[in-house]
């Protein structure tokens, strides 16, 4: 086990607003870290710092050996090892599902068109959408779009996968199909950091649960234990709110 992501006393502020305070966190290879917390607690910001969509403003963040913000000119190297799945999918609307998934391999891994399409085909099959490969995003349901988005993120064969509330924009019956794909990804042993309100995912697939509150990590532990016996009152309140 070696540290893949390391936050060292990291702070992040947007202008005068401090969103993250003194974050110390080490994530090892193969961990499936589930980040929960009330909205505004900083969990999305923490996630977005990992691939430099937000740059940390104090402290140091080491991702796959690259030190941020000191080596921020190498941010593209970080991003090429980190796949990201967004709440609102953000598939490229002018490309078919297949081209969306093939985009990363051909641009970032310099694969030929055929190789990239082969990779994309395999991944679409894995997320159960082989028959939708020539559909455009606008022709797919939300759940299907999010599964394509997961395939797209996996296509560059990343070391780390980030999920930013991947099921929050979906109807309850569509969540299941996305969560199942995520569980399958977790079982492959890829390192994952997941911001979600789905406690069922945390208990089923998570290896570690982080509870964030007001820009700090308030709880850090085994999901099963934390969910069964939430020690702090804040976590108890939060779990009650999300209906767990």
């Amino acid at each position: 086990m070696s540290a893949l992501i390391e936050f060292r006393d990291v702070g992040k502020s947007f202008g005068p607003v401090e969103v993250l305070h003194n974050i110390d966190l080490t994530i090892d290879q193969g961990e499936v870290v589930v980040l929960v917390g009330p909205s505004g607690s900083g969990k999305s910001t923490l996630l977005r710092c990992i691939n430099g969509l937000e740059m940390v403003t104090s402290g140091e963040l080491v991702v796959d050996g690259i030190h941020l913000p000191r080596q921020k000119r190498r941010i593209r190297e970080v991003r090429q090892e980190v796949g990201m799945v967004f709440q609102l999918f953000h598939l490229f609307p002018h490309m078919s599902a297949l081209d969306n998934v093939a985009f990363g391999p051909s641009k970032v891994r310099s694969m030929s068109r055929e190789e990239a399409h082969d990779v994309a085909h395999d991944l679409l099959k894995k997320v159960g959408l082989a028959d939708r490969s020539h559909h455009y995003p606008a022709e797919l349901s939300g759940g299907q779009q999010q599964r394509v988005a997961i395939a797209r993120a996996l296509a560059i064969n990343p070391k780390i996968m980030l999920f930013d509330e991947p099921t929050s924009a979906l109807d309850p019956e569509l969540r299941e199909e996305v969560l199942n794909v995520m569980i399958a990804v977790a079982e492959q042993g890829i390192t994952m950091v997941v911001v979600t309100h789905e406690m069922s995912f945390a208990s089923k697939a998570g290896s570690r649960l982080l509870f964030m509150d007001a820009g700090r990590i308030a709880e850090d532990g085994d999901p099963q234990t934390l969910l069964r016996n939430p020690s702090s009152e804040r976590l108890q309140n939060f779990l009650q709110h999300v209906g767990y």
Binding site: V82, M84, F92, P93, Y136, I156
Partner: protein
């Protein structure tokens, strides 16, 4: 003295010649204007989050400088009438060159001045169209591209560009038609385009009704051709 069709028929050869010149100025003008406008529009956007974040490292000053240059160009052209721009390029520029460099007799012929005017004028408006279209691209799509670690150039050519282009087609079509009609103003620098031809025929036979009707129909045919080709292009691009 009603509408006598024979005057229309008589005028056709000269009007067609004028229309050909109008079409020529317009096509070179809008192609050049699109190139200049795209460049100016992207310069205008340099350093903004719309094209992938504001961090340019050591080249930050360059991004800001190009932004300022683009703003200056756009405001200068949008803020002055095209007829004044044409007059300036045709009559005033040679004098300016003479005063500043002492070189005499350097001037554009009327047709070249007309084409340059259209390019510069359309370019300024198209720059704003390009900027608007690029800024309308969902920030999430830009982030999705950036998150893959592609270069800024790839981000612009493969993600932002195609999406923005489709959105830009309707306002660009507007500008194409405006530019075509603006060529009629080059009558003032003596370019023999359609309006000028009409004016000359009219001056010789005083048949204002027939001649200006024929001129109007010629313009309508050309603007319709532009509008239809843009509509066709828009339909061909499959997005959303």
């Amino acid at each position: 003295m009603g509408f006598e069709f024979k005057y229309v028929v008589e005028s056709i050869p000269a009007l067609l010649q004028g229309a050909k010149l109008t079409w020529y100025i317009t096509i070179i003008g809008i192609v050049g204007g699109l190139a200049l406008g795209t460049l100016a529009g992207l310069m205008r956007l340099a350093g903004t989050p719309a094209v992938g974040g504001a961090s340019y490292g050591h080249f930050r000053w360059l991004a800001i400088a190009s932004q300022k240059v683009a703003i200056g160009y756009i405001e200068l052209i949008r803020g002055t009438p095209i007829i004044v721009q044409a007059m300036f390029i045709y009559f005033a520029l040679p004098m300016l060159i003479e005063v500043t460099t002492g070189l005499k007799g350097i001037r554009f012929d009327a047709l070249t001045a007309a084409i340059i005017t259209i390019i510069i004028n359309a370019g300024a408006y198209m720059a704003e169209i390009v900027r608007g279209a690029v800024q309308s691209v969902n920030k999430g799509l830009v982030e999705a591209g950036m998150a893959m670690g592609i270069s800024r150039f790839q981000l612009i050519t493969s993600v932002i560009g195609p999406i923005a282009f489709k959105r830009a087609i309707p306002p660009l079509g507007n500008q194409f038609i405006i530019s075509l009609k603006d060529t009629s103003l080059f009558i003032v620098i003596g370019v023999g385009e359609l309006t000028r031809q009409g004016q000359e025929i009219m001056a010789s036979n005083f048949r204002a009704l027939e001649i200006w009707s024929a001129v109007a129909v010629c313009y309508l045919i050309m603007t319709t051709a532009l509008a239809l080709s843009l509509k066709f292009m828009e339909r061909r691009i499959k997005i959303l």
